[in-house]
Protein backbone atom coordinates (compact mmCIF):
# COMPACT_ATOMS: atom_id res chain seq x y z
CA UNK A 1 0.00 0.00 0.00
CA UNK A 2 1.36 3.42 -0.93
CA UNK A 3 2.19 5.61 2.06
CA UNK A 4 0.09 8.73 2.43
CA UNK A 5 2.94 10.28 4.40
CA UNK A 6 6.57 9.48 3.82
CA UNK A 7 9.22 10.96 6.10
CA UNK A 8 12.91 10.60 5.32
CA UNK A 9 15.88 11.60 7.48
CA UNK A 10 13.99 14.26 9.40
CA UNK A 11 16.15 16.24 11.80
CA UNK A 12 15.35 19.03 14.22
CA UNK A 13 17.49 20.51 16.97
CA UNK A 14 16.70 23.13 19.59
CA UNK A 15 20.20 24.20 20.61
CA UNK A 16 21.82 21.12 22.13
CA UNK A 17 18.55 19.23 22.34
CA UNK A 18 17.94 16.78 19.51
CA UNK A 19 14.17 16.67 19.04
CA UNK A 20 14.25 14.66 15.81
CA UNK A 21 17.22 12.52 14.89
CA UNK A 22 17.11 11.17 11.33
CA UNK A 23 13.47 10.12 11.57
CA UNK A 24 12.36 7.87 8.74
CA UNK A 25 8.85 6.49 8.69
CA UNK A 26 6.07 5.69 6.23
CA UNK A 27 2.43 6.13 7.19
CA UNK A 28 0.25 3.90 5.00
CA UNK A 29 -3.19 5.09 3.99
CA UNK A 30 -6.25 3.86 5.83
CA UNK A 31 -4.51 2.91 9.07
CA UNK A 32 -4.64 4.05 12.67
CA UNK A 33 -1.12 4.65 13.88
CA UNK A 34 -0.17 5.56 17.41
CA UNK A 35 2.93 7.53 18.38
CA UNK A 36 4.15 6.74 21.86
CA UNK A 37 7.07 7.98 23.91
CA UNK A 38 7.93 9.69 27.16
CA UNK A 39 7.65 13.47 27.49
CA UNK A 40 10.29 15.11 25.32
CA UNK A 41 10.76 12.01 23.14
CA UNK A 42 9.94 13.96 19.98
CA UNK A 43 6.35 12.94 19.20
CA UNK A 44 4.86 16.42 19.21
CA UNK A 45 7.89 17.84 17.39
CA UNK A 46 7.22 15.25 14.69
CA UNK A 47 3.55 16.29 14.53
CA UNK A 48 4.54 19.97 14.45
CA UNK A 49 6.94 19.39 11.55
CA UNK A 50 4.42 17.36 9.58
CA UNK A 51 1.79 20.08 10.03
CA UNK A 52 4.15 22.92 9.10
CA UNK A 53 4.36 24.58 12.52
CA UNK A 54 8.08 23.77 12.75
CA UNK A 55 10.50 23.65 9.83
CA UNK A 56 12.85 20.66 9.87
CA UNK A 57 16.62 21.32 9.84
CA UNK A 58 16.96 18.62 7.19
CA UNK A 59 15.07 15.73 5.68
CA UNK A 60 11.94 15.44 3.57
CA UNK A 61 8.24 15.10 4.34
CA UNK A 62 6.16 13.86 1.43
CA UNK A 63 2.36 13.89 1.43
CA UNK A 64 1.16 11.75 -1.45
CA UNK A 65 4.50 12.46 -3.14
CA UNK A 66 4.40 16.26 -2.60
CA UNK A 67 7.17 17.74 -0.48
CA UNK A 68 5.53 19.66 2.36
CA UNK A 69 8.58 20.13 4.58
CA UNK A 70 8.79 23.91 4.11
CA UNK A 71 5.09 24.67 3.97
CA UNK A 72 3.02 26.64 6.49
CA UNK A 73 0.25 25.15 8.68
CA UNK A 74 -2.30 26.79 6.35
CA UNK A 75 -0.74 25.24 3.28
CA UNK A 76 -0.47 21.75 4.82
CA UNK A 77 -4.09 22.02 5.97
CA UNK A 78 -5.14 22.87 2.42
CA UNK A 79 -3.15 19.89 1.10
CA UNK A 80 -5.03 17.51 3.40
CA UNK A 81 -3.40 17.33 6.82
CA UNK A 82 -5.48 18.33 9.84
CA UNK A 83 -4.72 18.13 13.51
CA UNK A 84 -6.24 18.42 16.93
CA UNK A 85 -4.34 19.60 19.98
CA UNK A 86 -3.40 18.26 23.38
CA UNK A 87 -4.97 21.40 24.86
CA UNK A 88 -8.00 22.15 22.66
CA UNK A 89 -7.38 25.23 20.52
CA UNK A 90 -10.85 26.67 20.20
CA UNK A 91 -12.39 30.11 19.95
CA UNK A 92 -13.71 30.20 23.48
CA UNK A 93 -15.93 33.25 23.10
CA UNK A 94 -17.78 31.70 20.18
CA UNK A 95 -20.37 28.93 20.34
CA UNK A 96 -19.64 25.35 19.29
CA UNK A 97 -21.54 25.88 16.02
CA UNK A 98 -19.67 29.13 15.33
CA UNK A 99 -16.33 27.37 15.90
CA UNK A 100 -17.30 24.82 13.29
CA UNK A 101 -18.62 27.56 11.01
CA UNK A 102 -15.15 29.15 11.05
CA UNK A 103 -13.64 25.76 10.22
CA UNK A 104 -16.12 25.34 7.36
CA UNK A 105 -15.12 28.80 6.04
CA UNK A 106 -11.58 27.45 5.75
CA UNK A 107 -12.68 24.88 3.20
CA UNK A 108 -13.84 27.48 0.66
CA UNK A 109 -11.73 29.44 -1.76
CA UNK A 110 -12.90 32.83 -0.50
CA UNK A 111 -14.96 34.13 2.37
CA UNK A 112 -18.03 36.25 1.92
CA UNK A 113 -18.13 39.71 3.44
CA UNK A 114 -21.91 39.68 3.19
CA UNK A 115 -23.27 36.15 3.59
CA UNK A 116 -24.37 35.57 7.20
CA UNK A 117 -21.93 33.49 9.22
CA UNK A 118 -24.69 31.16 10.31
CA UNK A 119 -26.35 30.70 6.92
CA UNK A 120 -28.58 27.64 7.06
CA UNK A 121 -26.36 25.40 4.95
CA UNK A 122 -23.29 26.15 7.03
CA UNK A 123 -25.17 25.75 10.28
CA UNK A 124 -26.65 22.43 9.17
CA UNK A 125 -23.19 21.15 8.29
CA UNK A 126 -21.87 22.27 11.69
CA UNK A 127 -24.73 20.63 13.59
CA UNK A 128 -24.39 17.44 11.53
CA UNK A 129 -20.75 17.21 12.50
CA UNK A 130 -21.54 17.86 16.17
CA UNK A 131 -24.23 15.19 15.93
CA UNK A 132 -21.61 12.64 14.93
CA UNK A 133 -19.85 13.33 18.22
CA UNK A 134 -23.14 13.31 20.12
CA UNK A 135 -22.87 17.03 20.75
CA UNK A 136 -25.71 18.52 18.68
CA UNK A 137 -27.39 19.80 21.84
CA UNK A 138 -24.26 21.84 22.62
CA UNK A 139 -24.32 23.74 19.30
CA UNK A 140 -25.40 27.09 20.70
CA UNK A 141 -23.38 27.03 23.88
CA UNK A 142 -20.22 29.14 24.09
CA UNK A 143 -17.07 27.05 24.36
CA UNK A 144 -16.31 28.79 27.65
CA UNK A 145 -19.29 26.96 29.20
CA UNK A 146 -18.27 23.51 28.00
CA UNK A 147 -16.35 20.84 29.90
CA UNK A 148 -12.81 19.85 28.90
CA UNK A 149 -13.85 16.53 27.38
CA UNK A 150 -16.46 18.20 25.19
CA UNK A 151 -13.94 20.81 24.06
CA UNK A 152 -11.59 18.01 23.07
CA UNK A 153 -14.24 16.47 20.85
CA UNK A 154 -15.09 19.83 19.25
CA UNK A 155 -11.38 20.37 18.61
CA UNK A 156 -11.30 17.05 16.76
CA UNK A 157 -14.56 17.89 14.93
CA UNK A 158 -12.96 21.11 13.65
CA UNK A 159 -9.97 19.18 12.35
CA UNK A 160 -12.33 16.85 10.55
CA UNK A 161 -14.17 19.58 8.61
CA UNK A 162 -11.66 19.47 5.74
CA UNK A 163 -12.10 15.68 5.31
CA UNK A 164 -8.33 15.30 5.64
CA UNK A 165 -6.18 12.65 4.03
CA UNK A 166 -4.25 12.49 7.27
CA UNK A 167 -5.65 13.37 10.67
CA UNK A 168 -3.23 13.90 13.55
CA UNK A 169 -4.72 13.70 17.02
CA UNK A 170 -2.55 14.88 19.90
CA UNK A 171 -3.57 12.93 23.01
CA UNK A 172 -7.28 12.64 22.22
CA UNK A 173 -8.12 11.11 25.60
CA UNK A 174 -5.87 13.15 27.89
CA UNK A 175 -7.84 14.73 30.69
CA UNK A 176 -10.65 12.22 30.26
CA UNK A 177 -11.45 9.96 33.24
CA UNK A 178 -10.43 6.28 33.16
CA UNK A 179 -14.08 5.26 32.98
CA UNK A 180 -14.76 7.56 30.04
CA UNK A 181 -11.63 7.08 27.95
CA UNK A 182 -12.82 4.09 25.89
CA UNK A 183 -16.22 5.69 25.38
CA UNK A 184 -14.54 8.90 24.23
CA UNK A 185 -12.15 7.08 21.91
CA UNK A 186 -15.02 4.97 20.48
CA UNK A 187 -16.88 8.21 19.76
CA UNK A 188 -13.81 9.71 18.09
CA UNK A 189 -13.09 6.67 15.94
CA UNK A 190 -16.76 6.33 14.98
CA UNK A 191 -17.06 10.04 14.12
CA UNK A 192 -13.78 10.23 12.26
CA UNK A 193 -14.16 7.04 10.23
CA UNK A 194 -16.33 8.42 7.38
CA UNK A 195 -13.98 11.33 6.63
CA UNK A 196 -10.41 10.62 7.66
CA UNK A 197 -8.71 7.83 5.83
CA UNK A 198 -5.60 7.78 7.95
CA UNK A 199 -5.31 8.62 11.63
CA UNK A 200 -2.12 9.23 13.59
CA UNK A 201 -2.66 9.70 17.29
CA UNK A 202 -0.25 10.53 20.08
CA UNK A 203 -1.11 8.82 23.34
CA UNK A 204 0.41 7.86 26.66
CA UNK A 205 -2.29 5.37 27.59
CA UNK A 206 -1.13 1.93 26.52
CA UNK A 207 -4.64 0.48 26.89
CA UNK A 208 -5.89 2.97 24.33
CA UNK A 209 -2.88 2.32 22.08
CA UNK A 210 -3.18 -1.46 22.11
CA UNK A 211 -6.95 -1.32 21.59
CA UNK A 212 -7.20 1.20 18.77
CA UNK A 213 -3.89 1.31 16.89
CA UNK A 214 -3.06 -0.89 13.90
CA UNK A 215 0.55 0.09 14.26
CA UNK A 216 2.72 1.74 16.92
CA UNK A 217 5.76 3.97 16.49
CA UNK A 218 7.76 4.40 19.70
CA UNK A 219 9.93 7.51 20.12
CA UNK A 220 12.88 7.97 22.43
CA UNK A 221 15.18 11.00 22.52
CA UNK A 222 14.23 12.09 19.03
CA UNK A 223 14.72 8.66 17.50
CA UNK A 224 12.34 5.89 16.52
CA UNK A 225 12.93 3.10 18.95
CA UNK A 226 10.48 0.61 17.49
CA UNK A 227 7.87 0.50 14.73
CA UNK A 228 5.39 -2.30 14.18
CA UNK A 229 2.17 -3.90 15.31
CA UNK A 230 1.11 -3.05 18.89
CA UNK A 231 1.81 -6.48 20.38
CA UNK A 232 5.39 -6.47 19.09
CA UNK A 233 6.25 -2.87 19.93
CA UNK A 234 4.71 -2.86 23.38
CA UNK A 235 6.60 -6.06 24.27
CA UNK A 236 9.89 -4.77 22.90
CA UNK A 237 12.46 -4.73 25.69
CA UNK A 238 13.74 -1.22 24.88
CA UNK A 239 10.22 0.17 24.62
CA UNK A 240 9.33 -1.40 27.96
CA UNK A 241 12.46 0.07 29.48
CA UNK A 242 12.38 3.60 28.03
CA UNK A 243 8.77 4.26 27.11
CA UNK A 244 6.14 2.22 28.88
CA UNK A 245 8.13 1.38 31.97
CA UNK A 246 6.75 -2.13 31.73
CA UNK A 247 3.16 -0.93 31.71
CA UNK A 248 0.60 -2.78 29.57
Amino acid sequence: MNPVLSVRGLEKRFGAVVAADALTVDIPAGRKISLIGANGAGKTTFVNMVTGYLKPDSGTILLDGTDIGRRSPRSTARLGISRSFQIPQLFVELTAAENLAVAISGTGTRMSLRAPAEAQGRRDAAVELLERFGLADQADRPISELAGGVRKLIDIAMALVRRPKLLLLDEPTSGVSAEEKFKTMDRVIHAVAPDAATIVFVDHDMEIVSRYADRVVAFYQGRILADGIPAEVLNNQEVRRYVTGGAR
Binding site: A77, F85, I87, L90, S105, S112, L113, P142, V161, R162
Partner: protein, 325 residues
Protein backbone atom coordinates in the same frame (compact mmCIF):
# COMPACT_ATOMS: atom_id res chain seq x y z
CA UNK B 1 -31.58 45.45 13.66
CA UNK B 2 -32.69 44.83 10.09
CA UNK B 3 -30.81 46.86 7.44
CA UNK B 4 -34.10 48.41 6.20
CA UNK B 5 -34.84 49.67 9.69
CA UNK B 6 -31.33 51.09 9.82
CA UNK B 7 -31.86 52.88 6.49
CA UNK B 8 -35.10 54.37 7.86
CA UNK B 9 -33.23 55.45 10.98
CA UNK B 10 -30.52 57.14 8.91
CA UNK B 11 -33.21 58.98 6.91
CA UNK B 12 -34.96 60.06 10.13
CA UNK B 13 -31.74 61.34 11.71
CA UNK B 14 -30.92 63.21 8.50
CA UNK B 15 -34.32 64.92 8.40
CA UNK B 16 -34.12 65.61 12.14
CA UNK B 17 -31.21 67.90 11.28
CA UNK B 18 -33.76 70.39 9.95
CA UNK B 19 -35.02 70.87 13.50
CA UNK B 20 -31.60 71.18 15.12
CA UNK B 21 -30.02 74.53 15.99
CA UNK B 22 -27.07 75.53 13.79
CA UNK B 23 -24.40 74.98 16.46
CA UNK B 24 -25.66 71.43 16.95
CA UNK B 25 -25.36 70.72 13.22
CA UNK B 26 -21.64 71.31 13.14
CA UNK B 27 -21.23 69.37 16.39
CA UNK B 28 -23.16 66.45 14.93
CA UNK B 29 -21.12 66.62 11.71
CA UNK B 30 -17.87 66.32 13.67
CA UNK B 31 -19.38 63.54 15.80
CA UNK B 32 -20.47 61.62 12.68
CA UNK B 33 -17.06 62.11 11.09
CA UNK B 34 -15.28 60.90 14.24
CA UNK B 35 -17.72 58.00 14.51
CA UNK B 36 -16.81 56.93 10.99
CA UNK B 37 -13.09 56.64 11.70
CA UNK B 38 -13.74 55.11 15.13
CA UNK B 39 -16.00 52.56 13.47
CA UNK B 40 -12.98 51.54 11.41
CA UNK B 41 -10.97 51.11 14.60
CA UNK B 42 -13.75 48.88 15.97
CA UNK B 43 -13.75 46.86 12.72
CA UNK B 44 -10.02 46.31 13.11
CA UNK B 45 -10.26 45.69 16.87
CA UNK B 46 -12.44 42.66 16.16
CA UNK B 47 -9.27 40.96 14.89
CA UNK B 48 -7.57 41.76 18.21
CA UNK B 49 -5.50 44.66 16.85
CA UNK B 50 -5.79 48.31 17.76
CA UNK B 51 -4.44 51.02 15.50
CA UNK B 52 -3.00 54.01 17.31
CA UNK B 53 -2.20 55.66 14.01
CA UNK B 54 -5.47 56.09 12.14
CA UNK B 55 -4.49 59.74 11.83
CA UNK B 56 -2.27 58.57 8.96
CA UNK B 57 -5.27 57.60 6.81
CA UNK B 58 -7.33 60.48 8.15
CA UNK B 59 -4.62 62.86 6.94
CA UNK B 60 -4.12 60.95 3.68
CA UNK B 61 -7.82 61.31 2.91
CA UNK B 62 -7.86 64.97 3.92
CA UNK B 63 -4.71 65.95 2.01
CA UNK B 64 -5.73 63.90 -1.03
CA UNK B 65 -9.07 65.69 -1.23
CA UNK B 66 -7.56 69.11 -0.52
CA UNK B 67 -4.93 68.75 -3.23
CA UNK B 68 -7.41 67.53 -5.83
CA UNK B 69 -9.94 70.21 -4.83
CA UNK B 70 -7.36 72.98 -5.24
CA UNK B 71 -5.78 71.56 -8.38
CA UNK B 72 -8.89 70.55 -10.33
CA UNK B 73 -11.67 72.45 -8.57
CA UNK B 74 -13.38 69.35 -7.23
CA UNK B 75 -15.85 70.78 -4.70
CA UNK B 76 -18.66 68.25 -4.71
CA UNK B 77 -19.06 66.87 -1.17
CA UNK B 78 -19.92 63.32 -2.25
CA UNK B 79 -17.02 63.21 -4.73
CA UNK B 80 -14.70 64.51 -2.02
CA UNK B 81 -15.79 61.75 0.35
CA UNK B 82 -15.18 59.16 -2.37
CA UNK B 83 -11.72 60.60 -3.10
CA UNK B 84 -10.88 60.69 0.61
CA UNK B 85 -12.00 57.08 1.09
CA UNK B 86 -9.99 56.01 -1.97
CA UNK B 87 -6.82 57.76 -0.75
CA UNK B 88 -7.13 56.19 2.72
CA UNK B 89 -8.05 52.81 1.29
CA UNK B 90 -5.16 52.70 -1.20
CA UNK B 91 -2.69 53.52 1.55
CA UNK B 92 -4.33 50.89 3.76
CA UNK B 93 -4.00 48.30 1.01
CA UNK B 94 -0.26 48.99 0.83
CA UNK B 95 0.43 49.14 4.58
CA UNK B 96 -2.04 46.48 5.78
CA UNK B 97 -0.28 43.39 4.42
CA UNK B 98 3.07 44.71 5.68
CA UNK B 99 2.00 45.03 9.29
CA UNK B 100 -0.63 42.27 9.47
CA UNK B 101 1.99 39.79 10.62
CA UNK B 102 2.44 41.76 13.84
CA UNK B 103 -0.04 41.78 16.68
CA UNK B 104 -0.77 43.36 20.02
CA UNK B 105 1.39 46.23 21.17
CA UNK B 106 3.79 45.83 18.21
CA UNK B 107 0.94 46.33 15.79
CA UNK B 108 -0.30 49.39 17.68
CA UNK B 109 3.16 50.94 17.91
CA UNK B 110 3.86 50.35 14.22
CA UNK B 111 0.69 52.17 13.21
CA UNK B 112 1.59 55.00 15.56
CA UNK B 113 5.13 55.18 14.18
CA UNK B 114 3.91 55.28 10.58
CA UNK B 115 1.47 58.09 11.33
CA UNK B 116 4.23 60.09 13.02
CA UNK B 117 6.56 59.55 10.06
CA UNK B 118 3.80 60.93 7.84
CA UNK B 119 3.26 63.82 10.24
CA UNK B 120 6.98 64.65 10.16
CA UNK B 121 7.01 64.53 6.35
CA UNK B 122 3.99 66.85 6.15
CA UNK B 123 5.53 69.37 8.55
CA UNK B 124 8.69 69.50 6.44
CA UNK B 125 6.92 69.71 3.07
CA UNK B 126 6.60 73.38 2.25
CA UNK B 127 4.70 72.62 -0.96
CA UNK B 128 1.88 71.40 1.29
CA UNK B 129 2.04 74.43 3.55
CA UNK B 130 4.37 72.87 6.11
CA UNK B 131 3.09 73.05 9.68
CA UNK B 132 0.53 75.72 8.73
CA UNK B 133 -1.20 73.62 6.11
CA UNK B 134 -3.48 75.28 3.56
CA UNK B 135 -7.13 76.20 2.92
CA UNK B 136 -9.75 74.81 0.56
CA UNK B 137 -13.00 76.24 -0.76
CA UNK B 138 -16.54 75.64 0.44
CA UNK B 139 -17.98 72.30 -0.72
CA UNK B 140 -20.95 72.06 -3.07
CA UNK B 141 -23.42 69.23 -3.66
CA UNK B 142 -24.48 67.99 -7.11
CA UNK B 143 -23.71 71.41 -8.64
CA UNK B 144 -25.50 73.38 -5.92
CA UNK B 145 -23.47 75.88 -3.89
CA UNK B 146 -24.56 76.86 -0.41
CA UNK B 147 -23.97 80.49 0.48
CA UNK B 148 -26.31 80.47 3.48
CA UNK B 149 -24.19 79.16 6.40
CA UNK B 150 -27.08 77.19 7.91
CA UNK B 151 -27.83 75.48 4.59
CA UNK B 152 -24.13 74.72 4.12
CA UNK B 153 -23.97 73.24 7.62
CA UNK B 154 -27.10 71.19 7.02
CA UNK B 155 -25.76 69.90 3.71
CA UNK B 156 -22.56 68.75 5.39
CA UNK B 157 -24.53 67.30 8.30
CA UNK B 158 -26.79 65.38 5.92
CA UNK B 159 -23.92 64.00 3.83
CA UNK B 160 -21.92 62.99 6.91
CA UNK B 161 -24.92 61.33 8.60
CA UNK B 162 -25.88 59.45 5.42
CA UNK B 163 -22.32 58.30 4.64
CA UNK B 164 -21.59 57.35 8.25
CA UNK B 165 -24.99 55.69 8.54
CA UNK B 166 -24.38 53.57 5.46
CA UNK B 167 -20.90 52.73 6.72
CA UNK B 168 -22.58 51.59 9.93
CA UNK B 169 -25.01 49.39 7.99
CA UNK B 170 -22.13 47.93 5.99
CA UNK B 171 -20.20 47.27 9.22
CA UNK B 172 -23.24 45.55 10.76
CA UNK B 173 -23.53 43.25 7.73
CA UNK B 174 -19.78 42.63 7.88
CA UNK B 175 -19.87 41.78 11.61
CA UNK B 176 -22.59 39.17 11.02
CA UNK B 177 -20.90 37.71 7.95
CA UNK B 178 -18.70 34.67 7.48
CA UNK B 179 -15.73 37.04 7.29
CA UNK B 180 -16.81 38.84 10.48
CA UNK B 181 -16.91 35.57 12.38
CA UNK B 182 -13.47 34.61 11.08
CA UNK B 183 -12.21 38.02 12.25
CA UNK B 184 -13.33 37.22 15.80
CA UNK B 185 -11.61 33.85 15.48
CA UNK B 186 -8.34 35.59 14.53
CA UNK B 187 -8.62 37.71 17.67
CA UNK B 188 -8.97 34.61 19.81
CA UNK B 189 -6.48 32.22 18.26
CA UNK B 190 -4.79 33.13 14.99
CA UNK B 191 -2.68 29.96 14.94
CA UNK B 192 -5.78 27.77 14.97
CA UNK B 193 -7.22 29.90 12.19
CA UNK B 194 -4.14 29.05 10.09
CA UNK B 195 -4.50 25.36 10.93
CA UNK B 196 -8.03 25.54 9.55
CA UNK B 197 -6.64 26.66 6.19
CA UNK B 198 -7.49 30.35 6.55
CA UNK B 199 -5.01 33.21 6.30
CA UNK B 200 -5.06 35.26 9.50
CA UNK B 201 -2.84 37.89 7.84
CA UNK B 202 -5.28 38.31 4.96
CA UNK B 203 -8.20 38.69 7.34
CA UNK B 204 -6.33 41.36 9.32
CA UNK B 205 -5.25 43.11 6.08
CA UNK B 206 -8.80 43.32 4.75
CA UNK B 207 -10.10 44.68 8.04
CA UNK B 208 -7.19 47.14 8.06
CA UNK B 209 -8.07 48.35 4.55
CA UNK B 210 -11.72 48.78 5.53
CA UNK B 211 -10.65 50.83 8.56
CA UNK B 212 -8.40 52.92 6.29
CA UNK B 213 -11.29 53.59 3.86
CA UNK B 214 -13.43 54.82 6.76
CA UNK B 215 -10.54 56.96 8.05
CA UNK B 216 -9.93 58.51 4.64
CA UNK B 217 -13.62 59.41 4.23
CA UNK B 218 -13.60 60.84 7.73
CA UNK B 219 -10.59 62.97 6.81
CA UNK B 220 -12.58 64.35 3.87
CA UNK B 221 -15.43 65.34 6.23
CA UNK B 222 -13.03 67.00 8.66
CA UNK B 223 -11.55 68.95 5.75
CA UNK B 224 -14.97 70.05 4.50
CA UNK B 225 -16.02 71.11 8.01
CA UNK B 226 -12.85 73.14 8.68
CA UNK B 227 -12.02 74.12 5.08
CA UNK B 228 -8.41 73.92 6.20
CA UNK B 229 -5.91 71.11 6.53
CA UNK B 230 -2.63 70.86 8.39
CA UNK B 231 -0.30 68.12 9.67
CA UNK B 232 -2.26 67.96 12.95
CA UNK B 233 -4.55 65.56 11.09
CA UNK B 234 -1.79 62.93 11.34
CA UNK B 235 -0.59 63.78 14.84
CA UNK B 236 -0.75 61.07 17.51
CA UNK B 237 -3.18 62.97 19.74
CA UNK B 238 -5.66 63.09 16.84
CA UNK B 239 -5.36 59.31 16.46
CA UNK B 240 -5.72 58.93 20.22
CA UNK B 241 -9.03 60.75 20.15
CA UNK B 242 -10.46 58.21 17.72
CA UNK B 243 -9.25 55.33 19.88
CA UNK B 244 -10.88 57.16 22.79
CA UNK B 245 -14.25 56.99 20.99
CA UNK B 246 -13.73 53.31 20.11
CA UNK B 247 -12.92 52.49 23.76
CA UNK B 248 -16.01 54.38 24.92
CA UNK B 249 -18.16 52.49 22.42
CA UNK B 250 -16.81 48.97 22.93
CA UNK B 251 -16.93 46.49 20.08
CA UNK B 252 -20.36 44.99 20.55
CA UNK B 253 -22.50 47.49 18.73
CA UNK B 254 -22.14 49.69 15.68
CA UNK B 255 -24.71 52.13 17.08
CA UNK B 256 -22.58 52.52 20.19
CA UNK B 257 -19.82 54.12 18.12
CA UNK B 258 -22.19 56.91 17.05
CA UNK B 259 -23.55 57.36 20.57
CA UNK B 260 -20.02 57.44 22.02
CA UNK B 261 -18.83 59.94 19.43
CA UNK B 262 -21.79 62.24 20.05
CA UNK B 263 -21.44 61.89 23.84
CA UNK B 264 -17.76 62.77 23.63
CA UNK B 265 -18.44 65.84 21.49
CA UNK B 266 -21.17 67.01 23.88
CA UNK B 267 -19.01 66.49 26.98
CA UNK B 268 -16.12 68.24 25.27
CA UNK B 269 -18.22 71.20 24.07
CA UNK B 270 -20.04 71.78 27.34
CA UNK B 271 -17.00 71.29 29.56
CA UNK B 272 -15.07 73.63 27.26
CA UNK B 273 -17.88 76.16 27.57
CA UNK B 274 -18.36 76.02 31.34
CA UNK B 275 -14.90 74.89 32.49
CA UNK B 276 -12.57 76.32 29.84
CA UNK B 277 -9.43 75.72 31.90
CA UNK B 278 -10.18 72.23 33.11
CA UNK B 279 -12.18 70.66 30.30
CA UNK B 280 -9.59 67.93 29.75
CA UNK B 281 -10.09 66.92 33.40
CA UNK B 282 -13.83 66.54 32.83
CA UNK B 283 -13.14 64.50 29.72
CA UNK B 284 -10.77 62.24 31.67
CA UNK B 285 -13.31 61.74 34.47
CA UNK B 286 -15.95 60.91 31.85
CA UNK B 287 -13.72 58.23 30.31
CA UNK B 288 -12.83 56.84 33.75
CA UNK B 289 -16.51 56.63 34.60
CA UNK B 290 -17.30 54.70 31.42
CA UNK B 291 -14.36 52.30 31.93
CA UNK B 292 -15.32 51.76 35.57
CA UNK B 293 -19.05 51.25 35.14
CA UNK B 294 -19.25 50.05 31.53
CA UNK B 295 -15.98 48.17 30.97
CA UNK B 296 -17.32 46.67 27.74
CA UNK B 297 -18.26 50.10 26.44
CA UNK B 298 -21.46 52.05 26.00
CA UNK B 299 -22.80 49.33 23.70
CA UNK B 300 -23.06 46.95 26.67
CA UNK B 301 -25.98 49.08 27.90
CA UNK B 302 -28.22 47.50 25.30
CA UNK B 303 -26.30 44.43 24.11
CA UNK B 304 -26.48 41.54 26.53
CA UNK B 305 -23.65 39.54 25.13
CA UNK B 306 -23.40 35.82 25.74
CA UNK B 307 -19.67 36.34 26.04
CA UNK B 308 -20.33 37.93 29.44
CA UNK B 309 -20.90 34.44 30.69
CA UNK B 310 -17.34 33.50 29.97
CA UNK B 311 -15.87 31.81 33.01
CA UNK B 312 -12.68 32.83 34.71
CA UNK B 313 -11.31 29.38 33.94
CA UNK B 314 -10.98 30.31 30.27
CA UNK B 315 -8.69 33.26 30.78
CA UNK B 316 -5.46 31.23 30.86
CA UNK B 317 -6.40 29.50 27.62
CA UNK B 318 -5.06 32.32 25.50
CA UNK B 319 -1.66 31.77 27.07
CA UNK B 320 -1.77 28.15 26.04
CA UNK B 321 -1.86 28.93 22.32
CA UNK B 322 0.69 26.83 20.63
CA UNK B 323 1.69 25.34 23.96
CA UNK B 324 -0.21 22.24 23.04
CA UNK B 325 2.65 21.35 20.83
Amino acid sequence: MHPLVMIALVAAVTLFGRALPTWTLSLATIAASNALISLGIVVLARTGNVSFGQGLFFAAGGYGVALIANAWGLTDAVAQVIVGAACGGLLGLVIGPLIARYSGIFFGMLTLALSMVFYGALVKTTALGGSDGFNVGRPSLFGMSFTDPREADFMLYAVSVIVTGFAGIAATILFRSEFGLASLAVRENNLRVEYLGLSANRIVSINFAIAAVFAGASGAFALMAQRHIDPQFAYWTTSGEFVFVAVLAGNQSVAAVFVASMALELVRSFSNLYLPNTWQLVLGIFLLGVILFLPRGIGSLWIRDRRKRRTAADVPLAAERGAAS
